[in-house]
Amino acid sequence: MRFEALVEVRLRQGISDPEGATIERALPALGFEGVSDVRVGKSFRFALEAPDEKTARELSQAMTDRLLANPVIEEAEVRVT
């Protein structure tokens, strides 16, 4: 079966995010007030052949743990449909 995976990777809480901080400082300059906690991340979308959804989920999680995210500084959320 074919599954669609969406993996969102972002910096862990407590890890400084210089890109997020820069964007947060830029927003008020455009008139957008009240924005906080901006975090920049990456998202990965891919299609995956697997016998069932559980396997597809496990494979996507394994790919995320081994390559897509660096657990030292990043956390990831894996969604499979």
Partner: protein, 235 residues
């Protein structure tokens, strides 16, 4: 027996010739008999013939995904893990440091510089330990002026790892004035055994009087001494 140093080249590496030239220059001026330097392609699956390995700077695999993230799966890095485990001297400079952290051969990670500036400047670093293969010929507390050239040199690790780095004397050098936001001003670290070292500054760019900088010589000399020691080991 002559000492052989390998410099690993990934697609996108761009400091390999500087490293080769600098090591040759240093080798000709220190008493390490017949040290030779060679380039090693990243597809190489054995590094057993070498006495020290350098991962030079650049943009291995275009720095796609994260710096070092793809390079870490190359055959040469798998071989490097075995070489390091057997006590072989390994040094990762700049992008090479990023590869070593991604490969799990050194703790922590290098993220984007605080302030989001690409840094191309000279910095002053202080040597914090002399038990690493890169600092054995230096003096603790010695100050060196070295070039840095990076966007992702902000050394990051969790509190427990930092505690361990300090307790096990694994901080090799610190910036005198932190340029990139690195935790605890860290510019370079080593593994507990001291044979695997990663650093953001480029010692190979401070090894020729013509460029007005010679502070990298002592670092590469230390590496050659460590390589020579390995070459003298009974096989």
């Amino acid at each position: 027996m002559s000492t052989r140093v390998g410099v690993v080249v990934f697609p996108g590496t761009n400091c390999e010739h500087d490293v080769v030239k600098a090591i040759e220059t240093v080798a000709s001026s220190v008493p390490v008999p017949g040290a030779s330097v060679e380039l090693v392609w990243h597809g190489e699956s054995s590094l057993d013939h070498l006495d020290a390995v350098v991962l030079p700077g650049g943009f291995a695999h275009g720095d796609y995904l994260r710096p070092g993230a793809i390079a870490r799966f190359s055959k040469a890095v798998e071989a490097l893990a075995r070489f390091a485990a057997s006590g072989g001297p390994v040094v990762g400079i700049c992008n090479g440091f990023q590869v070593l952290t991604e490969a799990g051969l050194l703790p922590g990670a290098l993220q984007k510089n605080r302030g989001l500036r690409f840094l191309c400047t000279d910095v002053e670093v202080r040597i914090c330990t002399t038990r690493s293969v890169l600092t054995g010929s230096l003096v603790e507390g010695e100050k060196l002026r070295l070039p840095v050239n990076h966007f992702e040199g902000n050394y990051t690790c969790d509190a427990a790892t930092l505690e361990r780095l300090r307790a096990e004397d694994c901080v090799v050098m610190r910036y005198a004035s932190n340029p990139n936001g690195s935790v605890d001003d860290i510019a370079g670290v080593c593994n507990p055994e001291g044979n695997v070292v990663g650093l953001m500054p480029h010692p190979e760019r401070a090894c020729d009087a013509l460029t007005g900088a010679l502070d990298g010589v002592g670092l590469l000399e230390s590496l050659l001494v460590a390589a020579d020691r390995r070459a003298s080991l009974p096989v």
